[in-house]
Symmetry: C2
Subunit: 109 residues, 2 copies
């Protein structure tokens, strides 16, 4: 279930969705003062076109396989693999297999 | 293997350590401008006494069970559960079972 803006001290489940993945959507988990965290859901073959955000990002693949295009290179992330992106880094994301990922963004104020 | 300061665009494995957990140590994964990320390793019965850091924190339990004491309440985190802590929140951590967790800290400049 989506928790649009969890409060501090609230436990959030980010286990693999498994069979529920195919019907799931990307959800914001919380947005605080300095950190924003979401679960990205991307089904096989779907992409986020190249984009950038001001703050630093970590992408932790929870399940499935993601291909992150960054600086002219491709980074393939399987479950339990983390990628760090510098602030402003242009990156595209393509799901090789149905995937979900925990995306954490350092907010710029 | 520890990666003291991974560079941007480097994939970092944060899968469960499993049988390697008992001999593992807490390691810094990277420290960037706005984000610091480490893998905390805490064996059953061990604790980090109550402490605080300036920045906001997320604790994602990778394996095992952690008990986080925060604001007079206990939060039990199993694998795949995430807890958000506000900046400056005093918190203690005790491992109920051998555990590792991904700890992300928003750095204050």
């Amino acid at each position: 279930m989506a928790i649009p803006h969890a409060s501090a001290g609230q436990t959030i489940d980010v286990q693999p969705l498994g069979e529920r993945l195919a019907a799931a959507k990307t959800v914001a988990l919380f947005k605080a003062q300095d950190l924003e965290v979401m679960r990205l859901v991307l089904l096989a073959g779907r992409s986020l076109p190249p984009h950038q955000v001001a703050g630093e990002i970590t992408i932790l693949c929870i399940e499935g396989v993601l291909d992150i295009a960054l600086d002219g290179r491709r980074h393939v992330l399987g479950a339990g693999q983390l990628l760090f992106l510098a602030g402003g880094a242009v990156h595209g994301v393509t799901a090789i297999e149905d995937a979900s990922a925990l995306v954490s963004i350092a907010l710029k104020r």
